[in-house]
C-alpha cells in the first residue's frame, strides 16, 4: 500500500553511512567474523574449538583415540542421545525445558520390545508404534503445559517419573527383553554402507550445499539485495567439505558409513531446514522470542507449543528405538541414569541458548560429538564413570557460562 503512495519525489536512501561494509577479501571475511565474536555472536566456534582440543588431548594420551574403529564406534554411540538432543533443542528454542526425554525414550523402547518380542508384531510396525507412543506422550505434555498453564518444568518432571514407572510396568518381572539380532530393529545400527555409497552421499551433500547457496545468493543479487560474495560461498563450502570428506574417508577405513549415523544427520539437517526456512520454524523462534508478540501477530501460540513438545517426545522415542537397536535389548535402566542430562547438556554445549529464541539444530550434532568424545576417550583411558561425570559437568558448566556471557555481551552490543 505504501508502495503505491511513495513519499513524493524522494529517491531511495543511500546505504546508511553507519553500516560497516565488509569487503569480500579474505581479510574482510576474517574481520567480520572477529567483529561478530566480540559482539557475543559466538555461533558454533567455541564448541568446534572445544572438540578439536578434546580430540588432541585424548589422542596424545592414547593413540587409539583417532583410530577408524574408535571413531566409527563414536558415531554410533552419539546417535541415540543426539536424537533426543534434537528434540530438546526445539523445546529450548521456545524458552522451555523438557525433563522427560530420557524416560520417554525408555518407555518407547519398552513398547517396542514388548510389541515385537512378546506379541510378535512385525518389527517395522512395532517401531512405528513405539515412535507414535512418543508423539502421543508429547501431545499430552504440550497440552497440559499450553492449555492448562502448568509450567513445562513441572509437567515434564512428572513425565520423567511417570513414564519411567510405565516402562518398569511394561517390562514386568523379567526387567529385560532381548530383541533378535537379525530383524529390522537390529538392522538400524548394524548396517554400514560400502565406500562408494559413502563418497556418493558426501559429494551429493557438499554439491547440494554449494549449488543451493550460490543459487540463493544469485537470486539475492538479482533482487538488488546484499549478498555473500562468491569467495565467501567457496570458503564456506570448503569449511563444510573438509569434515564431510574427512569423516567419510575415516569411516570407510573401518566398516563404512553407519546407517544409524546417517539417520541422525538426516534428522539434524531436516530440523535445521525446518527451523530456518519454513513458516513453522519462524513461528517457533517467534514464540521463543516473545510469546505475546507472537500471539498478537496472529500465531496460534498454543498449537506451536503443543507441536514442539510432541516433536521433542517423538525424537526421544526415535532415540529410544535406536538405543534398543544398539544394545539388542531394553532393560529397566534404559533411558534412565545420565541419558536426560547428556541430551540437555549436548544441546547447550552445542550452542543453543537456555534463554530461548536462539540456537540451531546443529547443536545436537556438535554437542553430542563433544560429550561422545569425552566418554569414548575416558573409556580408552580406563577411567570410570566418576571421572566422566565430573568432566561432563565441567564442560556443561563452561557451555552455560559461555551462553550467559554471550547473552550479556549481546546486551552490551544491544542484541537482546
Amino acid at each position: 500500500m505504501a508502495q503505491q503512495t511513495p513519499v513524493a519525489g524522494e529517491a531511495a536512501p543511500a546505504p546508511d553511512p553507519r553500516l560497516i561494509v565488509t569487503g569480500s577479501s579474505p581479510r574482510g571475511l576474517v574481520a567480520a567474523a572477529l567483529r561478530r565474536l566480540r559482539g557475543g555472536e559466538l555461533g558454533a566456534l567455541p564448541v568446534i574449538v572445544g572438540l578439536i582440543v578434546i580430540c588432541a588431548v585424548f589422542q596424545s594420551l592414547n593413540s587409539n583415540f583417532l583410530s577408524p574403529q574408535n571413531l566409527s564406534n563414536l558415531t554410533l554411540q552419539v546417535v541415540s542421545t543426539g536424537l533426543m538432543s534434537c528434540g530438546v533443542i526445539m523445546v529450548l528454542l521456545l524458552g522451555e525445558i523438557d525433563l522427560s526425554v530420557g524416560s520417554v525414550s525408555g518407555v518407547s523402547g519398552a513398547v517396542l520390545a514388548v510389541l515385537a518380542v512378546n506379541h510378535g508384531i512385525p518389527e517395522v510396525a512395532a517401531i512405528a508404534l513405539a515412535v507414535l507412543t512418543g508423539t502421543l506422550i508429547g501431545v499430552v505434555h504440550g497440552t497440559v503445559f499450553a492449555k492448562v498453564g502448568v509450567p513445562a518444568f513441572v509437567v515434564t518432571l512428572a513425565g520423567l517419573i511417570g513414564w519411567q514407572g510405565a516402562q518398569l510396568y511394561l517390562l514386568g518381572s523379567d526387567g529385560t527383553i532381548n530383541v533378535p539380532y537379525d530383524g529390522a530393529i537390529a538392522y538400524l545400527t548394524q548396517t554400514y554402507f560400502v565406500p562408494a555409497v559413502g563418497w556418493g552421499i558426501a559429494v551429493a551433500a557438499v554439491g547440494l550445499y554449494a549449488g543451493l547457496t550460490l543459487l540463493g545468493e544469485r537470486r539475492r543479487t538479482a533482487a538488488g539485495l546484499p549478498a555473500k560474495s562468491a569467495a565467501e560461498v567457496i570458503a564456506r563450502t570448503v569449511l563444510l567439505a573438509v569434515p564431510v570428506f574427512g569423516g567419510v574417508a575415516v569411516l570407510n577405513l573401518w566398516n563404512g558409513v553407519p546407517l544409524a549415523f546417517l539417520i541422525f544427520l538426516g534428522f539434524v539437517v531436516v530440523f535445521d531446514l525446518v527451523l530456518r526456512k519454513t513458516r513453522y520454524g519462524r513461528m517457533v523462534f517467534a514464540v521463543g522470542g516473545s510469546a505475546e508478540a507472537a500471539r498478537r501477530a496472529g500465531i496460534n501460540v498454543d498449537l506451536i507449543r503443543i507441536s514442539v513438545f510432541a516433536l521433542a517426545s517423538t525424537l526421544a522415542a526415535v532415540g529410544g528405538v535406536l538405543a534398543v537397536s544398539r544394545g539388542f535389548a531394553v532393560s529397566q535402566s534404559s533411558g534412565s541414569g545420565d541419558v536426560l542430562m547428556l541430551a540437555i547438556a549436548a544441546a547447550v554445549i552445542g550452542g543453543t541458548s537456555l534463554f530461548g529464541g536462539r540456537g540451531s539444530a546443529y547443536s545436537a550434532l556438535l554437542g553430542g560429538l563433544v560429550l561422545g568424545a569425552i566418554t569414548s576417550g575416558l573409556y580408552l583411558l580406563q577411567m570410570d564413570s566418576s571421572v566422566r561425570y565430573m568432566i561432563t559437568a565441567a564442560v556443561l558448566l563452561i557451555a552455560v557460562i559461555l551462553d550467559a556471557v554471550s547473552r550479556r555481551s549481546r546486551r552490551a552490543h544491544a542484541r537482546g
Binding site: E10, A12, G224, R279, R282, F285, A286, A293, R296, G416
Partner: protein, 261 residues
C-alpha cells in the same frame, strides 16, 4: 455520510476488580481519522486491544461494515482487515527486521519462506516511509526505540488493512519521523481507510483528526468534530471538569495553552 466500517456499542471489559471499560461505543467511517483521547488509565489501550482481539470484550457488539462479527483472537481482526500498532510494542527481539515485519504473514512458496521476496518488499516499504536503517538483517533488539516504532507501523501496512489503529505512535519519535507518521495517517485517510489514533499530543490530534472521541474512567465522555471544537472543550471532557489542572495552569502562567493535553 457513508456507513461506518467499524462500529462498537455497549463494550464492557473488566480486569479483576477494575472495570476498565463500561458501555463504550465508537464508530469509524472509511476515510476518517478518529482520535481516541483520555487521561492515563482511561481505557484507550484496553479498547484498542478489544478491537484487535488481544483481550476480547466481556460484553458488547462489534459491527464490521454493518455486519455483526466476533473478534476472539488477533487472527480474526487481521482477517477482517484491522491492523494495530500497540503501545507496548509487539516485536520479537530475537528476530530480524524482515522476520518481524512479516511475522504471522510470512510469504512462502511450497512451504519454504520467500526470504528474497520478503526482504525486497520490506526494503521498498521502509524506503517509501523514508526510514533509514543500516541493515534489515539485524535483530530488532539492536534498534533504537523510534526505529522499532517505525517497524511496528510499517508492519501494520503490509496486510492491506481497512482500519488502522495506532496507540501513541509518535510518542517515541523524532520531529521528522513524527511528521512522517502524520503524513502517513493522512495518506491512509485519503486512500479511504478508517484510522483510530491515540495520542496525548493535542497538536497532532488537531492536525490530522476529523473527530475526537473522549474516554474518561472507562466511559464515553464526548464525541467532537475537531474543526468545530475548541481546545478547552476537549480538555474539559478529558479531565471531566471546566476547572481542571490545564485551565488553572493556563490562567496562572498565561501561556497560549494549545500544545500539550
Amino acid at each position: 455520510m457513508s456507513e461506518p466500517v467499524l462500529e462498537l456499542s455497549g463494550i464492557s471489559k473488566r480486569f479483576g476488580a477494575v472495570q476498565a471499560l463500561s458501555d463504550v461505543s465508537l464508530r469509524v467511517h472509511p476515510g476518517e481519522v478518529v482520535a481516541l483521547l483520555g487521561d492515563n488509565g482511561a481505557g484507550k489501550s484496553t479498547l484498542v486491544k478489544v478491537i484487535a482481539g488481544v483481550n476480547p470484550a466481556d460484553t458488547g457488539t462489534l459491527l464490521w461494515e454493518g455486519r455483526p462479527v466476533t473478534v476472539a483472537r488477533p487472527a480474526d481482526a487481521q482477517q477482517l482487515g484491522i491492523a494495530t500498532i500497540y503501545q507496548d510494542l509487539a516485536l520479537c527481539d530475537n528476530l530480524d527486521i524482515v522476520a518481524n515485519l512479516f511475522l504471522g504473514g510470512e510469504r512462502s512458496t511450497a512451504g519454504v519462506l520467500d526470504e528474497v521476496g520478503m526482504e525486497r518488499r520490506a526494503r521498498e516499504l521502509l524506503d517509501s516511509l523514508s526510514v533509514s536503517i543500516p541493515s534489515l538483517r539485524v535483530p530488532v533488539a539492536s534498534l533504537s526505540g523510534g526505529q522499532r516504532q517505525i517497524i511496528a507501523i510499517a508492519r501494520s501496512l503490509l496486510g492491506e488493512p481497512k482500519v488502522v489503529m495506532l496507540d501513541e505512535p509518535t510518542a517515541a519519535l523524532g520531529v521528522a519521523q513524527t511528521a512522517q507518521v502524520l503524513d502517513l495517517i493522512e495518506r491512509l485517510r485519503d486512500q479511504g481507510l478508517g484510522v483510530i489514533l491515540i495520542s496525548h499530543n493535542m497538536a497532532d490530534v488537531r492536525a490530522v483528526a476529523d473527530r475526537a472521541m473522549v474516554l474518561r474512567l472507562g466511559r464515553n465522555a464526548g464525541d467532537f468534530r475537531v474543526e468545530d471544537t475548541s481546545y478547552e472543550e476537549i480538555v474539559a471532557a478529558i479531565t471531566g471538569a471546566a476547572d481542571n489542572p490545564v485551565a488553572r495552569r493556563a490562567g496562572r502562567v498565561a501561556v497560549p495553552g494549545s500544545e500539550e493535553a
